[in-house]
Symmetry: C2
């Protein structure tokens, strides 16, 4: 039984169908400890997750030990969309995670029978694609310091999704629930380079750290100039 309402349920508001009722009756709240995998590589794509709490890293691993983190997922984000029988990526809980787990088949049935819901879902998919395109631009074109600045804006817009009072332009506090290695693997850098980039931003008084996993943006303009990401203050809107 679902205790809390997830983003998927929110998206379904207004629509009604037997398939929707079935989908939500099948949703189960699941808890994952830090380090646990929500989805493993090569696993059948039988489940779909709606994250309620915590942070998940979605990663693709190379045979030779290389790892690329594709996204960090937090509250109000989805996990498990796939066009193939088996999932090529690995989803790991970076913190304790709560998510609603739906059977994919039930979701597919809703998408096939409830067009208004299908449309909203397609918009979400498109946003995920646009976010991936941002990521490609960042690692293809930006320097190490720029990538880190861009990453801070990425996290900032991610955490704004779930801010109870809505996105606020002035928020300057950023939580970094992941390790430096996770950040490095997201940005296509090494831990040392990430660390040096943070130090460089500290030295030029653009950010400060309370501890190594939470920082404060002192000069948001400078971060924007470096990271160049359109965040929620722009026309982009929330997912």
């Amino acid at each position: 039984m679902i205790v809390r309402k997830g983003h998927l349920a929110e998206m379904a508001e207004g629509a009604e169908s037997a398939e929707l009722d079935f989908l939500f009756s099948e949703g189960r709240e699941r808890h994952f400890v830090q380090g646990e995998h929500l989805i493993t590589e090569g696993e059948r794509t039988d489940y779909f997750y709606d994250v309620l709490d915590g942070t998940v890293a979605l990663a693709r691993n190379g045979r030779d030990g290389r790892r690329q983190i594709l996204s960090f997922l937090g509250a109000r984000q989805f996990l498990g969309a796939s066009s193939t029988e088996r999932y090529p990526n690995l989803a790991t809980a970076l913190t304790p995670v709560t998510a609603i787990c739906y059977p994919r088949a039930a979701l597919e049935r809703v998408l096939e029978t409830t067009p208004s819901f299908g449309s909203k879902f397609r918009v979400v998919l498109t946003r995920i694609l646009e976010s991936s395109h941002d990521h490609v631009y960042t690692i293809g074109q930006r320097s190490a310091v720029e990538r880190v600045a861009s990453f801070l804006l990425y996290l900032r817009s991610n955490q704004a999704r779930f801010d109870p009072v809505g996105p606020r332009d002035k928020s300057t506090h950023i939580e970094l629930p992941m390790t430096r290695l996770d950040i490095a693997d997201f940005l296509g850098l090494t831990i040392e380079t990430v660390s040096r980039a943070f130090s460089s931003l500290k030295r030029s008084e653009v950010i400060t750290f309370k501890d190594s996993h939470s920082c404060e943006i002192i000069n948001l303009e400078k971060i924007r100039e470096l990271g160049g990401r359109e965040d929620f203050t722009e026309h982009r809107g929330r997912a």
Copy 2:
């Protein structure tokens, strides 16, 4: 009036609705000369393209002149999916291009009313996302030579989409309709590095060039080892 049937029409086979009929009655075959833009940055997202012939580069430009090519689109590929009012990317014809142009509104109406079509469309979107994830892995983790090898496999699987006799594992000929700068901007490298990577692959007798825009793979195993992409011989399937 549509002369040739595009991929979108192929996807609609089996389904029938007034909205579909309207969509296809509104489709117009358009021709673009080399260098012409199908979509410009900031343009309203009013049209959706189904490429019949030629190659299109989809790119995101930075303010400072940096450019990241997000994908090369050929026959049977779509262009124009967006979650926002204005399109953030630039689509340029690299060769003479023929595409069917549909009004987005008509497409949206079909997607909202013809669920079986909507589902197929969602699968296509998901594949595009997976391809973008491949791209992120490539530029985040691979070296210059590996990126170029991966790029050859990317082109190979793209051209296989439209091979009249279907994908063939043995095909070794690769057409490179784009310039070295386009390749560099796709892979997050410079033209010089791309050129050196090609030379290095020539020297080790992995590929040969007929001319600078078409090459032959001599040692496909080596290219796969370097580029590590699952292409159409794997479980990935065609879009």
